[in-house]
Symmetry: C2
Subunit: 276 residues, 2 copies
């Protein structure tokens, strides 16, 4: 595995593989099994696997956790090597944004719901950095986890609207044994919060096992279960069409996402299920 930090060097290295398929896994690092599943899938489907690790300041709000977002590049490097990554790309903020960028990409409508509503500017930052990374890596396929299901929807819309020559591969959520969705942010959780956070998937699974057909009942069951948990503070609970993220009056005859964002202490966790 080659570990590369310069854009131009990565371009030069990748040029020799222009005729092979490149699989790309963009991440913010602090790798967990969810990331490793993306790499595994890319490894199976592509000739060359590129993993990027970049904590992108553009997608963090002024009061969010950019500076304290967990980082451990040495451990990540080891995990990436073991997972069969060919190129690890970990540029600095200065390498990605040597001067203040004037260009930003906006995806309307689907970014106004769920996390887009709680985190204004977040998806513009995501769309902009994903575009930039795609231009640097020129992947044939890019792998994204469905824990960030809205991100997948935004990236798929971006790729469609801008005719990106890349296939987006959404991958299932990977969970701890007790159901908690893997996230680099889980490390923030206190021991009590960690235990209580399992309510999210327990409540979602209850819906999945026996889904009421009207979104209002789904929301109210989830609200009841989650708000009964002492450390939980609900950011949103919503039921929308997927990937269009439109309001729905029934869950029948369409794919819907049941998505939650909940604070435990200062840590905001998200989770979701898709009902098809």
């Amino acid at each position: 595995m080659k570990h590369i930090k310069q854009i131009n060097q990565l371009r030069v290295e990748l040029k020799q593989f222009a005729s092979q398929t490149i699989g790309f896994v963009p991440t913010m690092g602090y790798l967990h099994l969810g990331h490793l599943e993306l790499i595994k899938r890319a490894r199976e489907e592509c000739d060359i696997v590129v993993l990027s690790i970049f904590v992108n300041p553009l997608q963090f709000g002024p009061n969010e956790d950019f500076s304290r977002y967990p980082r451990d590049i040495e451990r990540d490097e080891q995990l990436a090597k073991e997972a069969g990554v060919d190129f690890l790309f970990s540029p600095s903020v200065e390498e990605m944004y040597p001067e203040k960028p004037l260009t930003h990409i906006e995806v309307d409508e689907i970014t106004s719901k769920l996390c887009g509503s709680s985190r204004p500017g977040h998806f513009s930052g995501v769309a902009t950095v994903v575009t930039k990374l795609f231009h640097i890596v020129s992947p044939d396929r890019a792998y994204f986890g469905l824990k960030d299901a809205q991100q997948v929807a935004v990236v798929e819309q971006l790729v469609k609207d801008l005719s990106f020559p890349v296939e987006i591969v959404p991958c299932d959520i990977v969970r701890e044994e007790d159901g908690l969705a893997l996230s680099s942010r889980n490390v923030y959780l206190s021991s009590d919060a960690r235990k209580q956070a399992t309510v999210l998937y327990r409540a979602l699974k209850e819906i999945q096992a026996n889904p009421p057909s009207d979104p209002e009942s789904i929301r109210s069951i989830l609200h009841e279960r989650i708000s009964a948990t002492p450390l939980a503070r609900i950011d949103y609970i919503d039921v929308l069409s997927y990937p269009g993220l439109q309001a729905v009056t029934t869950i029948e005859n369409q794919t819907v996402i049941v998505a939650v964002a909940v604070y435990f202490d200062q840590t905001r966790l998200i989770d979701n299920i898709l009902l098809r």
Copy 2:
């Protein structure tokens, strides 16, 4: 020359030339000698030349000339063939935008001046379609005329900010014998307006020959010359740094653009000179 109207077909055709250099000339058609100079330069510098002809609705305002913009695809096809184009790509609006796109690209600051101020949304439409065309064609170099100097600045900013793997090649303005900058919109001009429109370059040449160092004097000379022309109605006259398009207090020690936009009857013409 192959004339292609489908995105996927163009991709398939271009795939076999992946190891060669692709020169791209994006246009709105109704080709004139200015376009042909861009093609000639691309022909000299690249293995494969792709010309696109697409009148992009996104970059026209609601009261602008999208529907009456001049079109003559048969004549264009003949001219392209004679100029040595390898692939003429002329997609329909439905091919480019099969459904309403939700994604748009914004370039801040430099789009608020000059034509950006007169034509709100214009440069977002330009940046978005250029991005889409770049993703379809994957050019090594793209050729743009400096008559639209602000467009060149916007596209260069876009390419830098988003790390597009493409080199932008700005090309000099091509003029009629009497100095009028070539433009597909010149066809709109009445015989009287056509004669009077030569004032633009005459006035700009007067500045170029003997430039006052302060922008205010440049503006006032141009204003005097142009407003003395009966059919002329000034949209803007400005002197800014180039390509940053910042206000300047002197033209010394920097490249500045002296840019004008003037209506003759209903036809809006633009022209500029760069002082280095």
